[in-house]
Symmetry: C2
Subunit: 214 residues, 2 copies
Amino acid sequence: MTSAAASAPDVVDEPGRRLSSDERRAQIIRAALTIFGARGYEGATTDEVARAAGVSQPYVVRLFGSKENLFLATIGFALDQLLSAFRVALAASDDGGERPVGKRIGEAYVDLIEVHGLHQTLAHAYLLGSNPAIGAAARQGFVRVWRFFRDEMGLDAEEARTFLAEGMLISTMIGLRIVDDYGSDPQITELFRACFPNKLPHVLEVLPRNEHRL
Amino acid sequence: MTSAAASAPDVVDEPGRRLSSDERRAQIIRAALTIFGARGYEGATTDEVARAAGVSQPYVVRLFGSKENLFLATIGFALDQLLSAFRVALAASDDGGERPVGKRIGEAYVDLIEVHGLHQTLAHAYLLGSNPAIGAAARQGFVRVWRFFRDEMGLDAEEARTFLAEGMLISTMIGLRIVDDYGSDPQITELFRACFPNKLPHVLEVLPRNEHRL
DNA sequence: GACTGTAGTAATCGTATGATTACAAAGTCA
DNA sequence: TGACTTTGTAATCATACGATTACTACAGTC
């Protein structure tokens, strides 16, 4: 609850009320993050997104023009969330510097699992380098994160690489849903403990388990 | 050319010759690796795979039963290739131990870009944790790699985590097609140099560039 | 209270795609 | 040679999905 991620004021959706197109777009992007995260760009359907957002499928298409545009908007939102969470963590380290900066940023990254689908959607985007539009956006997004580490955090290239690597591992573990078999499969349990050395209880609490699949 | 990856005897496809179903399956899996790597599980079509393998689309489906089975077979193959390449590197370190084991394994991993689509396909699989069949297979596969690091290489949990993390970063960079903008975009150039500190020339040589998109 | 713009849906269309069926050609072996 | 198996394709099907069109309802304003 202390993270910046949880502070976003979700759009209230009283049944019957009409939202402005911008409010609706924001709401749809939230839903899209979940769906794209679970099924990937091609695997997700605009209908699933629409259902999750509580609107009709044609309206999703009309508000964004195309599924591709929706995806681009979604990864844009994810990156904004990511970087602003990082900036909050960085600022917090600057004033009351009890904990090292790296720790704080790392925790902020893990905390972003509360924004459902964010890590998975970005990871999917990073794998679509072959797609002309999405690939270009993904590369630019990745570079934005790199620049944050180098310029705003002041890391050298080696340190920044290590940060990125740890981040990619965390995203992978989340996408794999390792948490589903935690406790039941001893191999998985060991793997999971090793990969989330400190944040274990928090991750277990926040990440949805078995049955509940989105 | 020194890697184990390049030593696989590709199936020769003289036009007119009929292959055994096992030979054909192997050939199709090779093609599937490329296609799944570039487009993902949902994004790839059995028709694309068939075309790349030089057979008809129905035949692909018949030889594997379903697209899902084809994907499972493909990631099984990818994991076998990965682990056998690791074992070769490990064995080579054991006898003539000039170079440290970690370096060798890392190089073997990067060298696997010669098996087109391997890294990307595995990365896609790792993101499909929500899919019942594929998710389970992906988790088991990931655990196999983990067990290699722990049991066969003898790493402790911390070291193994670092290895995995570096691997995930490399896979991400490949999936992003960072190479495409290497040289033209200065940001990308710096990022790329930092992430492939040693293997740079080799990677640049082996990874396909711009136009050539698979 | 008609007029206009915006939010939203129902119905539908075209197409891509995984799968199935039916059939042809090649190989094997008595 | 003839029966039988195995490799392989052409034609086709059913369906899912992104997109389009045509329409409705609500809100503000003059």
